[in-house]
Symmetry: C2
Subunit: 334 residues, 2 copies
Amino acid sequence: MPELRRDPIVGRWVIISTERAGRPRDFLEDTHARQPVADICPFCPGQERLTPREVLAYRPQESPPNSPGWTVRVVPNKFPALQVEGDMGREGIGLYDRMNGIGAHEVIIETPDHKAALADVPPKHVEDILWAYRDRMVDLKRDLRFRFILIFKNHGAAAGATLEHSHSQLIALPVVPTSVLDEIEGCRNHFQQKERCIYCDIIRQELTDRVRIVADNSEFIVMTPFAPRFAFEMWILPKRHAAYFEESQKTQFELLARILAEALKRMDKVLSRPAYNFILHTSPFHEKTGDYYHWHVELIPKLTQVAGFEWGTGFYINPVTPEEAAKFLREAEI
Amino acid sequence: MPELRRDPIVGRWVIISTERAGRPRDFLEDTHARQPVADICPFCPGQERLTPREVLAYRPQESPPNSPGWTVRVVPNKFPALQVEGDMGREGIGLYDRMNGIGAHEVIIETPDHKAALADVPPKHVEDILWAYRDRMVDLKRDLRFRFILIFKNHGAAAGATLEHSHSQLIALPVVPTSVLDEIEGCRNHFQQKERCIYCDIIRQELTDRVRIVADNSEFIVMTPFAPRFAFEMWILPKRHAAYFEESQKTQFELLARILAEALKRMDKVLSRPAYNFILHTSPFHEKTGDYYHWHVELIPKLTQVAGFEWGTGFYINPVTPEEAAKFLREAEI
């Protein structure tokens, strides 16, 4: 059973998931390195038996579950970091806090096409992927043990992807990660002072300055943040205030799909198809953050190693100004 | 001039240091990758002219500055992330805060021997390296612009080292990094409730349980933390309460040198000489943290890629329990 443990000083929860671990020798190799190219990709149509049974699939021709014919397919992760069954088992051990590693860990297979990267997928199809995120969130929200859902994508081996076939991941957690709590706290402080959402204030300032805007449409902006941790880091934000991704309107998903596809294409053009991560930051389920939190997507090309300085301090050195990065991205011909 | 910028939501400062940056193409290559092996190592004796002029060197035979004969040598970083000269230039830009990238960035060349790793250096020599850290801290503390000094080591290309010759780095900052502030806040909260240092409480509990102790002597313990972010992560802590590394007693440096050397040897034995980072966490200069903060060293072998999940959340998945890791490390024959 995986375990969740809390650092008593900073309150950070970590997952201790030893299912795949053995002798120390196992850690000498990069466990995130790309697996050897097998003959058979478990995410390809026709190989559905190689994954756990699907929890969601869009099947325009109404083909049976766990068979080909899907456009987007969601399955439990075959090697989950957390386990769905069981009770929370919260307990204190002296100074320390632990609980059972309860949670869901799912894989969103974004396309039946083994060769297509997300940037190659038509915006209409990207929209379906966003709907799959939303449908799974709405479903998992009903499980009252879960407090937060993290949706993220690792693209490319350097970003931690172990399988080539384009996919994203979902993790439902019984705790709220520290970094999300930090954002929420920053938002709450700003709201208490000014009765405004800080992200809304940022969007207004950015739309006036325009030096960090990469793209925008009627509902979304793509911008490089003022204090980016990483070169060419981008944020995608809804222009209208909204705390919960899963409550977006249908037209918003259409426009998000288009602008996400555009952001990926611009990034690929400027940086020659880099490895990247994206992470959806949205409200926890049970906290009342509606007035002051603002959901968004963080898109981070993986260009450099993060070294000791960054680990030690959460203090980052970025060799590119966000104004330069935005200019390159904005002016790229796509 | 490098720049310090503050994220308006979470308060994190980042360094925007564009000195070496150019076109986006420059970021396609891993800028932290090991440089091609040149004929001449700038950190070797006889090559002192290849570095900026030394700010400190231990020369048992009293040889002249910037010539051979040193055992430990400290020089400004040739490609500093921050700049020593100039004023702070703090200003607000709408919602945002920035200041000039004022700070010191130095390299501690740990040994004249190009081939020796820190783990190979005799404890007596490690002690001199610790004295060099301390002497530079005491000197830089006099500059009232600086609020925090970070000392860290990247060993091996996977951990971000760009030069093979064993060295550590020092960065003096005009701000306190968020992650240090988070630790200090956690310590302060515990102290307010219990009038005890939380690290002292942890040490007491660990010395009773002994399941996470790797090694100890009369002044220090090496332990794996209860909620480690990384496999085989270790902390080295003084057993007696102390907030400021630079105020350690001479005998403490002797014992720290010995236990650091032992920790590195155990790690090298169990993990076959991995790349690693260590980071010294000590008090900021002007904050009164003496009662409740406890300086320590974090030692992190670099075994796996950090993927999107970790970036997005500050929430880590660790495949090894700290109890198992401590057992392997403790029982290694060195």
